[in-house]
Subunit: 455 residues, 2 copies
């Protein structure tokens, strides 16, 4: 696996950059700077901006890439799957053969280990937890009959993951993310010692929000976990498996199902993916890959829930992409649209913030997000001030369970949706606001003689 | 509401029909008849039939009716909903405006009372029970925290309904169906006296399997139920609301949500429907209509489960049908295909079975099924013998909770899927088998002096 050597760019040495670190400024200098920044901020406010950098949504030109899918099936089309089913009628619980093949190529798994679901992998994750809650995992006690269920949450992470576990009253335990993935010392210790820990949320590739990819070592250690709970499962949300920014400079992961099998833990993982950010969000197809034992357990429940998912849409996807190579080519078109946005943000961050020591940011090679770390205690204020100038960001705290960022420092930047030029304005405003809030924090510290983040 | 005066055709008086009731035959006559029937049965067995009358599946020519839907959206199409959403992107949890309008016209409800879901109303029903089980209904105790949950099941009924409640360990109580709907004396008594009864399965129009429609009186009494449990809900599965066999001779029901509101019980009902047997089974759109209070309760949960359902497919449906009148015209095309099948079966039943007093059958004006009552203790044997001659029927017992038909007499006939001529052969075989099994039963009774159905 290639390492992501430079993902986290800490503000470089101030002298090298020829800029002064804000904390080295005097109170007078800070006050003068604040005045200047406030003036610029007011100018932005007068621009009546209305920009949304809050969610990982594809842009309109990304959506246009898949418009051809609307022609992939017409009224004259052959509506039979390769395994002989009329996709227009009832049945085929696990998905048609060619959709299994395409998505198994996408997920790097055997088609026999795949179930094709409906339009949302989030829904599949919710249903998996719900099923475990009502009926248990492989004959183990249903979670609703247990006093306490806990879950590991690498932080920062995906807010919709945390929302599901919170909704089911599951106690969430923060595990720090590193550039190589979750801190595995902590994961191993907790998972092996506490039977009430039943799962962990993972976005292993181009993680949400940092864009980190798990190292070989991390994947190997995941596959070798020795959970105290027999019904512990890794929720491996491979949301960005195909979502590279660059054609050659990509992250590769060890495939987790294969590694679990090799490690003698074949049933340890539920792996999720979907075409939501490949074809159309909300009108794609979702999938789960897992061991045959797990599949049997899941299908036993699924047969009560549905007669089958949308096979017409499955066929439409296969007819459009043709095969995994077609999908790879399609993803390069996405990359060509997204890449300039990520690169522009990086450039604007460097130009405006490097050397000031008031923030750091990640440089992902794929995925949908950049993660920004403000000085402690500043994230909420930055998001709030951006909002007041017409730029909507993901709420501060959203990347943590219970919306509680203990440092109040993490902000998720979602570059994909706005057009490039809008995004440039929003990013410049963001930098300005980071400066303003940082100056105010430093001023307060210097004048009050204490750090307001600890108040 | 029009009454279904002649739905259940009991064998007419033997003398009028010029036929002899089997039970009036002597042992010798029965033995001779058995020999003759067995000979005919063997001839069918030699035909190597392979016909499926087991499930309520549309036929191929019915599916062809909706092929035009594949052209309703192409790569040049305007992909914005009437309320301004790009249907290709994330969002719009409850469904796009025009889909709500179409389905609310279909369901006879206000668009504000509607949520559009994914491809399966069965899935919506499952999820509703699952949600009640994990989180409770409107702040009431989640069912998983209660010792005992019970459910009323009008019988015969829909096997997939019963399967869901059985899967959740809910105790199912049989309530006899009548031509006017469930026996409301029993329903009222049980619902008002037992707090552990949390729901009832209803297929109010062209019921599965009998094709009965609830009378005005029945709907009125449902709307006026006084459940002991605050979280009791009527699961009103309006699966066949548009599925008439005749243009003029249709059943009309009092709309249940409106009646509940008038009766001061606005939150009593969850009403379900889908386009599964209108457009494509498994690739249609499903919907729930209920009170605003219930909707709020449901959406609170849904937001954790999904970002939204397939809006492209919602738009595709509206563009294809245009409006409710378009859908009505479309349903007449279905009727033109289905009607001859229902009428043929009726004719073959009359010709072969009338006057023999060995079976009765329903004559629905819509829906997907005919219900057949054999002599007590004969249904399993009839289904089994049909299977051995190459005709697959819904398993006997499937129309009852726990697959237990106490009389072993109900058989669900699903006429839609096979082509007409295949269906005719299958129906003739069915009649022959009913005769054969009935003769054997009567012979056994006469020679052993006791009824084997009670053994």
């Amino acid at each position: 696996m290639k390492k992501n050597a430079e993902k986290k760019v800490n503000a470089v040495n101030a002298e090298e950059a020829g800029m002064t670190r804000y904390q080295d400024l005097s109170v007078e200098e800070l006050e003068s700077l604040r005045k200047e920044l406030k003036q610029s901020y007011r100018e932005y406010q007068n621009m009546d901006l209305n920009l949304d950098m809050s969610r990982g949504k594809p842009s309109l030109d990304q959506l246009d890439l898949s418009n051809g899918m609307m022609d992939a099936l017409n009224s004259e089309a052959d509506m039979y799957s390769s395994d002989g089913f009329d996709v227009r009628n009832y049945g085929v619980l696990g998905g048609i053969a060619e959709a299994k093949e395409l998505l198994s190529d996408m997920m790097e798994n055997n088609p026999d280990n795949i179930i094709i679901f409906g339009n949302s992998s989030l829904n599949v994750m919710y249903d998996s937890i719900s099923r475990s809650y009502t009926h248990g995992v492989m004959g183990n006690t249903p979670w609703c009959k247990l006093d306490k269920i806990k879950w590991l949450c690498p932080v920062p992470g995906y807010d919709r993951h945390f929302a599901i576990t919170e909704y089911f009253g599951i106690e969430m335990i923060n595990v720090p993310m590193t550039e190589k993935g979750p801190d595995m010392d902590i994961v191993e210790k907790l998972v092996s010692s506490d039977e009430s820990i039943k799962g962990i949320w993972c976005v292993p590739k181009y993680s949400n929000p940092q864009g980190y990819s798990y190292s070989d070592e991390t994947v190997r250690r995941f596959a070798r976990l020795k959970p105290a709970a027999k019904d512990f499962r890794i929720y491996w949300d491979n949301a960005y498996g195909m979502h590279h920014l660059y054609d050659h400079d990509q992250d590769y992961l060890i495939e987790i199902l294969a590694e679990c099998k090799r490690a003698g833990n074949p049933d340890l993982v539920y792996k999720f993916a979907s075409t939501s950010k490949i074809s159309f969000p909300g009108s794609g197809i979702a999938s789960m890959a897992t061991s045959l034992n797990n599949l049997e357990d899941i299908k036993k429940q699924m047969q009560y829930q549905t007669i089958g998912h949308d096979k017409v849409n499955q066929l439409r996807h296969v007819r459009f992409f043709e095969d995994i190579h077609g999908m790879v080519k399609h993803m390069m078109k996405h990359a060509n649209i997204i890449r300039p946005k990520f690169e522009m943000i990086e450039t604007v961050f460097e130009k405006n913030l490097e050397g000031l020591d008031i923030g750091s940011w990640t440089k992902p090679k794929g995925g949908y997000f950049i993660s920004f770390e403000t000085l402690p205690g500043c994230a909420k204020s930055v998001v709030d001030k951006c909002k007041k100038a017409g730029v909507k960001l993901t709420p501060a705290g959203a990347t943590f369970p219970y919306h509680k960022d203990p440092e109040d420092s993490n902000i998720r930047i979602a570059p994909t949706y706005p057009p490039l030029e809008d995004l440039r304005i929003a990013t410049e405003l963001f930098c300005l606001v980071v400066k303003l809030v940082s100056v105010e924090k430093l001023l307060k510290e210097k004048t009050e003689g204490l750090s307001f983040c600890t108040v």
